[in-house]
Symmetry: C2
Subunit: 194 residues, 2 copies
């Protein structure tokens, strides 16, 4: 007969998903192994069978968000054609990624660098930011961005708007990820003035 | 002779400002009265002379941000003329307010509703959001916003971009608040395409 914890059938994927929900609700620093045990419905002594350690769960969760960003940055649609079109594609895909991996991206956006794991995640995030920033500069150099706009500010404001979507987007109601991406691209690239 | 704590000369304003810095660094929930005493340079027993209680400091700090938003909403420049121009004015002023009261706005943006004080702050924030949302709808009704843009999404994305400025804006370096506001208004109202 399997143990009660096995009967609940926690594969690594569901452990990660439940842990991330707890991290987002209580804050990573405010989450104890006991909190995780309670959320998983296992005893305090059984938790280490499921969870190697809090920080390893955090690392896996943050990679879930960051790997997605690096995959889209490595996609050939981010590498060929006019920079302004590639930028638009990256913005759309970033919004979709945020919607598809919402709890993981939410966790990433709250990281402040309080541990080696968080520092590593911030370093990867800066690498992605540098990729976007380069794309905006290319688009400016190709004359596709208003010359009175500073590329560095465009990068920050554009991806600030993308990140802010995590604050209110709920997949089960309201606009779909593609509708949100359309609205953002229309507003930021062509302007909201009718 | 005055006590050591009096000699340090903490008026209510400097107590509030130091407390908000600690709240932003450690998180409000993670800040103890002992942390506040240490930051103020007073003994643990002297802290209640300076600080009525953690939650009252939080309430005063959040009001500092929220009162600013309500003042600009009540300004006559937000009440007269084409709605699109009033919206632009409100966006510019919101960016300037964020820059001028950065630690207070940062604290407000992190509020999750974990206490009566936080719930009250969120209610006031929603009231301001409703004011902006109404302005966007007016501008749409006046034909000044692209008909293919949903006013509710415009409101969220526009003020999401404003809020995201708190993540990276530093008054002592980089662009000024007015330069950031100019860039945001140009990008969001007229589009970044050159």
């Amino acid at each position: 007969m399997s143990s009660p914890s096995r009967r609940r059938g926690h594969d690594p994927e569901s452990v990660l998903s439940i842990a991330v929900a707890v991290f987002n609700e209580r804050g990573y620093d405010g989450t104890s192994m006991e909190d995780l045990a309670r959320a998983l419905g296992v005893t305090k002594s059984a938790i280490y069978y499921h969870v190697p350690g809090k920080e390893q769960l955090l690392a896996r969760a943050l990679d879930r968000a960051l790997d997605g960003l690096f995959e889209l940055a490595a996609d050939e649609r981010a590498a060929r054609g006019p920079a302004i079109d590639r930028l638009e594609w990256v913005v759309r895909r970033s919004v979709r990624l945020l919607a598809e991996r919402l709890p993981y991206v939410t966790l990433l956006l709250r990281v402040r660098g309080n541990s080696a794991t968080e520092q590593a995640a911030l370093a990867r995030r800066r690498e992605f930011d540098a990729f976007v920033s380069h794309l905006v500069k290319e688009a400016a150099a190709e004359g596709a961005i208003r010359p009175d706009l500073d590329p560095a500010l465009v990068t920050r404001l554009l991806f600030g708007a993308v990140s802010s979507i995590a604050e209110w987007y709920r997949p089960e109601r309201g606009a779909s990820a593609d509708e949100v991406a359309d609205a953002l691209v229309t507003m930021a690239f062509d302007g909201l003035r009718g």
